[in-house]
């Protein structure tokens, strides 16, 4: 089971949209995952307990530490685009397994 954290500035808007879209994409690709959504501060402190962090591209700088520790960090330009999410999940998760 893949452990995923979806992060945004406040934890109540964009991160929930990311979670909804990720659920659809994971289902389509047959990936089993649990997705937790929260704000960036919380995500940053908890990232070490997760396999993947997904956030808006503008927030990716917050997770350089996580990324250095080998956690996959995915930045999204268009949170509503299932195509972009699917491409990035395939590139960063599926192809690395």
């Amino acid at each position: 089971m893949l452990k995923v954290i979806a992060a945004c500035g406040s934890g109540m808007g964009s991160s929930q949209i990311i979670k909804m879209k990720l659920e659809k994409v994971f289902k389509k690709l047959g990936i089993e995952a649990s997705i937790y959504h929260t704000n960036v501060g919380d995500a940053k402190s908890q990232a070490a307990n997760y396999d993947v962090v997904v956030c808006s591209e503008s927030l990716i700088g917050t997770f350089t530490n996580a990324s250095a520790k080998g956690i996959t960090v995915i930045g999204l330009k268009n949170l509503l685009s299932e195509k972009e999410i699917e491409e990035k999940v395939t590139e960063n998760i599926v192809n690395k397994q």
Binding site: G9, S10, G13, S14, S58, L80
Partner: protein, 144 residues
């Protein structure tokens, strides 16, 4: 969703704004007028964007100004604003927005339903095209 926004007068149309801060404040105006939110809510939204960058721009032309639950929010709502000219959130044109959906949440269940509906609607390119072409409330009447 748009019919409810029309009924509750939670919408506005503007030509453009010199700064994104002014745009966010204007987008919040109908919610301030009906006391859904208090003046500290737009302040909280602006503060977060200044701290973290333009993360509220979620897709080309689309922005969802919002801040944490509980800060100056009395009710759960969505409020729409459309600008003719793009509002710049940074030097990068990828973070320009014309469609604003202010989110306020006092009840997480209703908020999630709103967000789910909004995300479905905005994932429909045809609806986004219609919103980008909308000039007045008359044009909203044709939307779901």
């Amino acid at each position: 969703m748009f019919q409810k926004l029309i009924e509750t007068r939670r919408y506005s149309f503007h030509k453009g704004f010199a700064t994104w801060e002014e745009a966010v404040r204007a987008a919040c105006q109908p919610l301030l007028a009906d006391k859904t939110i208090e003046p500290e809510y737009p302040d909280a939204i602006i503060g977060k964007v200044k701290e973290l960058g333009p993360y509220i721009v979620i897709a080309p032309n689309i922005c969802i100004p919002h801040a944490q639950e509980g800060v100056g929010v009395n009710d759960t709502a969505i409020c729409f604003m459309k600008t003719e000219e793009p509002v710049h959130f940074s030097d990068d044109p990828d973070y320009d927005a014309k469609l604003f959906f202010v989110l306020a949440s006092a009840d997480n269940t209703i908020h999630l339903e709103n967000l789910c509906e909004l995300s479905e609607l905005l994932s429909d390119e045809e609806i986004v095209e219609k919103l980008l072409a909308a000039k007045s409330v008359e044009d909203l009447k044709e939307l779901p």
